[in-house]
Each structure stands twice: as structure tokens, then as C-alpha cells.
Amino acid sequence: MQSDKVLEMQGICKTFPGVKALSNVNFTLRKGEVHALMGENGAGKSTLVKVMTGVYEKDAGQIEVEGKVVHFKSPQEAQNNGIGTVYQEITLCPNLTVAENMFIGRGRHAFVSWTSMNAKAAKLLESLSIPARPTQQLSSCSLAVQQMIAIARAIDMDCKILVLDEPTSSLDEDEVRKLFALMRELKSRGVGIVFITHFLDQVYEISDRITVLRNGELIGEYEAASLPQFELVSKMMGKALEDVEGLKKRETVAREDVPVFEAAGLSSSASVKPFDFAIRKGEVNGFTGLLGSGRSESVRAIYAADSVTGGEIKINGKKVKIDEPIDAMKQGIGYLPEDRKGDGIIADLSVRENIILAMQVMKGFFKPISRKQAEAFADEYVKCLSIKTASTNTPIRSLSGGNQQKVILGRWLLTHPQYLILDEPTRGIDVGTKVEIQKLVLKLAEEGVSVTFISSEIEEMLRTCSRLIVMKDGQIAGELTGESLTQKDVMHVIAGGNE
């Protein structure tokens, strides 16, 4: 039994400033199995993988590779212990040849024997039946083949454990099939594969076992065959936090009045199929669905964050054109992006500058807000959102995630929007702040602001939204309203699709 386990992780804990990313997580990988690691965003999947592959050092816990206790301080060490990783984005060099990519950075010699390198590469490619020539430039291969070459590179380093972090996200169906064939081949050779994806069907197609994480905690380890898809979804999305019972969502607003925002046939370049959508004054609605279902892409289309390819928009019944974010801002729409670091904060600028940014841009290039006024605005929102910062002069990057998020919230509140889009405002932040943000959403709605609220945690949305739009495969799969919304209703739409 013991010899069967290639990797055993026990009681792994990892804390980042302000967030407990992993608490007491166990994970076991057996020889020759594909083990899917599942969980919504922020569940701790990637942190666990990074601990496994030596990118992060664990705070507590124990890792055993083939029964030997190990303590990785760098990815190099993990690699030497037979753990190979292939990341979502291909981390190879596109302008080198296939063979160079497979062997780069591995020789201990200053000189390279090209012929023997190419021969070795050819042998490896053939044995894995990867359709590529060693001397071909990598960029001339398809994405799937590049992905396979990355895997081949990991394999050749004698790996016993292969970690595949969302390897299929940029592949089409045919390419996925090829990749799976390769995975099965490796499985038969006794390699243990950790497979991360958010495509449920793929999980069931290839995995033997499934481990589910949520909020940094282990939910359980299951045999794939005995865990119905519906149950998997419910395990990933989780149960309520009991301390927010006090929150009371608003009732669905009367249907007669003119919607604050109304879109017909809206579509964007980010593969969202044309959809209709409307929101009324003081309403809180939500877009839900699994990752990759198009929930973020839909709201990005509303804000013109991705280029809009079609559709008609009415604000308070009047037809308007929204081609760029600035147009949406001028119509009183605010947008808090999902990717806080990449799309939200201006890392090196101060809290003050980050707060006034949107308002300043709306005022215009030639009308700078005075330093005094800016400081007053910043102080006001730091106080009312209780943002923890040394001063308003502090660069935003030195704040914790939750506080950064509040700064961005403050940025939009300052513009007094009539319609606020919050995409994952509670992601990766501590429970206390999560509740605060939910309360704020409800308070805004009471004041007459319309809010679209997106969260990976279904419970959060059930608490705050009076109407849920369920997305699946870039399309609206259903719309749910009413007081009695339950998690089950949502999951039926996501997993089943009929009801």
C-alpha cells in the first residue's frame, strides 16, 4: 500500500498577508493515476500546487515523495525529486527549436552536441507520438503540440509526478483528445498526474480520483466514478457562512418602471454569444456559472472592457453608444474588475491617486482636482470603508488584497454611479471584509444604485442578489428570481441545464 503512493502531503498550511490560503490540507497521489484537483477561484488549488512544486514554502505540514520526507526550497529541488510541472501559459521559448526547448538549461556542459540532442529529442517525441520534428521552430507547432512538448520536457527529466495546471484551457476539442491520449500513455508508464481544470466534463473523462478544495480547506477526496457531477459542483461551491444570517436582500423590484440599463443582443470579442439583459433601479442581480462560463465576459461587454461587436444599449430608456469604458463611465456605470492586480489597481500610485482616478478622468484632462480636495476625498473613503493604510500617500501595492479591493470600491463610489458592476469583489479576501462588502452592496441598492454582483461563492450571491442569471458556455442558461432561491436551483441549471 505504502509503495503505491508517489506523493503524500499532510496538514499543509500556507498563509499570505491577510489571507489564509491553505489550512491543514491533505493530498495523496498514487502511482499511475490521474488525480483532479478541483475548486473555485481562490479555493487554494494553485497554492497547493505551488507548495507541491517548490514555488512556495509551506508554513506547516509534511510532504513525502515515495515515502521520503522532503522539504523543497525551490522549484529546482522539486524537479530533482521528480516533480514536473506544466503551467497554463506555455513557458517555453517560441523562437527556439523543439529539441532546444526540450533540453535547454539542463546540460551541465558549456558545449552542446546538436546531433545527439536532436536524436534524443526525436526518440522521445516518437515514443510519446507527438507530431513534431526536433529541428522545427516551436512557434510553428500548434498550441496543443507545444503543450505536449512541455510535457515531454518534464517527462524526460525523469519525473514521477506530473502537475498539469489548466493544460486544456486554450485547446480545442481535437487537441484536448490528443493531450488526453498522451496523459493515458504516461499513466500506463506509472506517472502520477495532478490535473487541474475547470472543465467538468474533462475531469470525468480522464480522472481516477478527485480532490475538492474550498476556501483553502480540504473538502474531501473522492473516486471520480462515485461522485455525480451535481454533487461535485455543490462541493466546490460550498455552504453558507453562518455569521451573515442578518443580511437581508431586497425584494425584486416592480417590473413596470424603465430599466436603468438595458441591452439587446450585446456581444463582445471575448466569445460571448449575443445576450439580452436589463437591470432596474435599486436592483441587485448576479451573473453566476462556473469559471469560464462567460459570466465575467458578459459584464465586461456591458462596460465595453472588451471590444463590443454588436448590440444595442439603452440607459433609462434612452439609446446610447458605449464603445469604450469612458463612455460607460459617462453613463454612470462603474466597473470593479475581476483581476484586481492586472486591471484594477495602479500599483505604484498612492491610495489617494487610486481613489480619485476614475472621478478625475471623468472630470477631464484639463480639470485636475486640487491636492487638498483629493486628500479630502481620499480621507472620506478611507474612513467610510475603513481601509487600513498607513496614510493616503502610501502606494496601494503595499496594502493587503482586501484593502486594495476597498480602495477600488471607493474609486467607483466617489463617482456616484447609478449602476455598479462588481466582478468578484470578494475574491481572495478575508471573511470579515467579504461580509462588509456584501453589506455595502445592499446599502447601495437601498440608496437606489443598481448593482451587478458576481462571486464564485454561490451562497454570497444568494444572499445579496434578488435575481440570478445563470451562464453556461458563454450563453445565458437560465434566469432565477424570487425569495426562495436555493443553491440547488442554481446547480440544476448549471449541471443539468433542463430546469
Binding site: G342, G344, I345, E353
Partner: protein
């Protein structure tokens, strides 16, 4: 609050200011009369006025370079060449208008500014629309520019022999300070006013730090980058104007030769990241003066003109190593260990 802001700025300017201080000390050791000035024909001359006079073009170009660096995360290496072209246009307008009056000089200056904006727009469009790396985009004008300038000249070095332009490049009657120094001061004041009355700083910094987020907050990154390149075009025109009136003739081959590297260096010495984002124009101006003072100090130390570049390089290497993140981090660790530290002590001396 005011005090906090002052302290914050001082910590950014620590490096250029301390270098300047070191250079002044070296100069004073060489001769105590370093600061002395003489009045010749009613204008001030001396080490300091000459320094300010000599570095006017560099200061102006460093200002524009700072803006471009901040917003486009890259540098423009065509500034010297663009200045050569704009000043060629200025000279041609003047020579062809027959009479040289204040009016024709003004028109010529406006024309050269127009050309500067045009060339800046050319560079800017390559960078902002076609996403060419700034250094590569500006390499085109860097390569072709002096030939273009030569074609505009039509013949070797057209000469500007008249009173008015030599007053602009030298001394105006009744004014005790050489005109280029005054023009530089006016230019700096205008830039300061522009930064005060517009959001250029916020926009350029935001775009330089996070272009995607800038767009989501309603800023058009393309426009901002375009604008900074056009402003740099104006800086080039003004620098070219000063250079050509100083020289009294337009020499396409040698006018403002190699100044682009000094301008970039001034930005770096000024404590600005060459990777864009937050910027300090004050830093770049001090950086520009530092470079000029360095050359002059080396001359004063009787380093031969042929070897001066090598000495300059050594000095700059030392400077860049001291300012590098590695050394900074080391110093801040030392500072934490000792409680009060080296850098802090330095700051106090400066203040």
C-alpha cells in the same frame, strides 16, 4: 502634510543631489573661487553661469524624455536628430524671409515647433498605435534624421550672422544673464504650469504603470503616449532653437550630437525608473545639470578632452551601481539593523 510631501520628494532626489554635492566639493577643493562670478559687458560669467548656459539644451530634452519614459516605458533616441531637423527648419525660415526681425524669428520658432510636433507624432504613432518599442521606433529618425537635416540645409552649415539671433544665443542688452539660461528657466516654468493645470502626471503615470487598468478607468493610453511624444517634439524644437542660436550656424553633422544618451542618463540619474511609471521632472533637471557639471569638473581637473569620456563613464558606472536596487536593498537592511542608518544620515546632511 506639507512636511511629509517635502520629505518624500527629498528621498527621491537624494541621489542626484548628493552627486551634485560631491561634485561641488571636488570643485571647491580644486579652487576655492569656484562660485565666483565676473561681470563682462554687463552679463554674469563664471563657473556656475557657464554650467547653466552649457546645459540648457540637455535640461529641456531631459524634461521631455522624462514624460516619454513615464508613459511609454521606453526611451526616444532620436531627440538630438529631431532637434537638428527642427533647427534646420528654423534657419531656413529665417534665411528665406530676407529680413531678420523678432517677428520672423518668432515665426521660424513656431515653424520649428510645428515640425517638432510632427516628428514627435511620427514616433508617437509608431509606439502607441503600432506598439513598436520606443527605442526601435525612434531608431528610424535617429538613422535618417541628420541626412534629412542636411537636405533641408541645402548646403554646408548655413550661417546666422545677425544681431538678434546672437542676442538669443548670447546676451540681450540690459539683461545680466545669458539668454539661453533665461529661456530654459521660462521653459521649466511653463512645464511646471502645464503639469499643475492638467492631469498629465496622473495620466502618464497610470498608463506607464498599468495600461490595461488605465483604459478601464477611462484613460486612452494611446492618446497619452501620443501626447508625451508630441511634447517631447516641442522640447526638441526648443533645444534645437537654443543650440542653433548659440552656435550662430547650423551644422547638421555636429549639432547636439550624442545628446540623446545624455538625456536618457539625466532621467536615470534623476531617480526615475526607465521602466516607466512614477516620474520626477525635478530629478531629471538636476540629473542634466549633474552630467554637465561632471564634464566641466573633469575639464577643470585637467583631464584631456580625448580621455574625458572614459572618466565620465567610470563615474556613471559607480553612480548607477550605487543607485541600483541591489545596493539600495542592502543599505536599507543595514539601516534596519542599525536602527538609524547611512541613508538617513545622508538625508539630514542634505536638508
Amino acid at each position: 502634510m506639507k512636511f511629509v510631501r517635502l520629505k518624500e520628494q527629498l528621498s527621491h532626489l537624494l541621489l542626484p543631489l548628493s552627486v551634485l554635492a560631491v561634485l561641488i566639493v571636488i570643485n571647491l577643493i580644486k579652487g576655492a573661487d569656484y562660485f565666483s562670478v565676473k561681470i563682462i559687458n554687463g552679463a554674469l560669467y563664471g563657473n556656475i553661469p557657464n554650467l547653466l548656459f552649457g546645459s540648457s539644451e540637455l535640461v529641456i530634452l531631459a524634461i521631455g524624455m522624462t514624460l516619454v519614459t513615464a508613459s511609454s516605458r521606453g526611451q526616444d533616441i532620436s531627440v538630438g536628430v529631431v532637434a537638428a531637423i527642427t533647427s534646420a527648419v528654423f534657419v531656413q525660415v529665417l534665411l528665406r524671409s530676407g529680413d531678420i526681425t523678432w517677428m520672423t524669428i518668432f515665426i521660424g520658432f513656431l515653424a520649428s515647433c510645428g515640425v517638432g510636433i510632427l516628428l514627435g507624432a511620427f514616433n508617437g504613432s509608431l509606439v502607441s498605435i503600432f506598439k513598436v518599442q520606443p527605442m526601435i521606433a525612434t531608431l528610424i529618425l535617429f538613422t535618417a534624421g541628420r541626412s534629412i537635416s542636411f537636405m533641408i540645409d541645402g548646403k554646408l552649415s548655413p550661417v546666422l550672422a545677425n544681431d538678434l539671433t546672437s542676442q538669443l544665443g548670447g546676451v540681450m542688452p540690459g539683461l545680466p544673464i545669458q539668454t539661453p539660461i533665461i529661456l530654459t528657466a521660462i521653459f521649466i516654468a511653463l512645464v511646471a504650469l502645464f503639469l499643475k493645470t492638467t492631469n498629465l502626471r496622473l495620466y502618464a503615470e497610470t498608463v506607464g504603470i498599468n495600461e490595461k487598468a488605465a483604459r478601464l478607468n477611462g484613460i486612452n493610453p494611446m492618446k497619452v503616449q501620443f501626447l508625451t511624444f508630441m511634447l517631447l517634439g516641442i522640447c526638441c524644437a526648443v533645444a534645437g532653437f537654443i543650440a542653433v542660436t548659440k552656435a550662430g550656424r547650423h551644422d547638421s553633422v555636429n549639432i547636439l550630437k550624442f545628446i540623446e544618451m545624455d538625456a536618457i542618463l539625466a532621467v536615470a540619474i534623476g531617480g526615475n525608473s526607465l521602466g516607466g511609471g512614477k516620474f520626477s521632472i525635478t530629478g531629471s533637471i538636476i540629473g542634466a545639470y549633474t552630467i554637465e557639471m561632471l564634464s566641466r569638473t573633469l575639464l577643470r581637473l585637467e583631464v584631456g578632452t580625448e580621455t574625458i569620456k572614459a572618466f565620465k563613464a567610470v563615474f556613471i558606472i559607480i553612480l548607477m551601481v550605487v543607485a541600483s536596487p541591489v545596493v539600495r536593498e542592502y543599505l536599507s537592511r543595514v539601516k534596519i539593523r542599525r536602527g538609524v542608518g547611512f541613508l538617513n544620515g545622508f538625508g539630514k546632511k542634505e536638508a
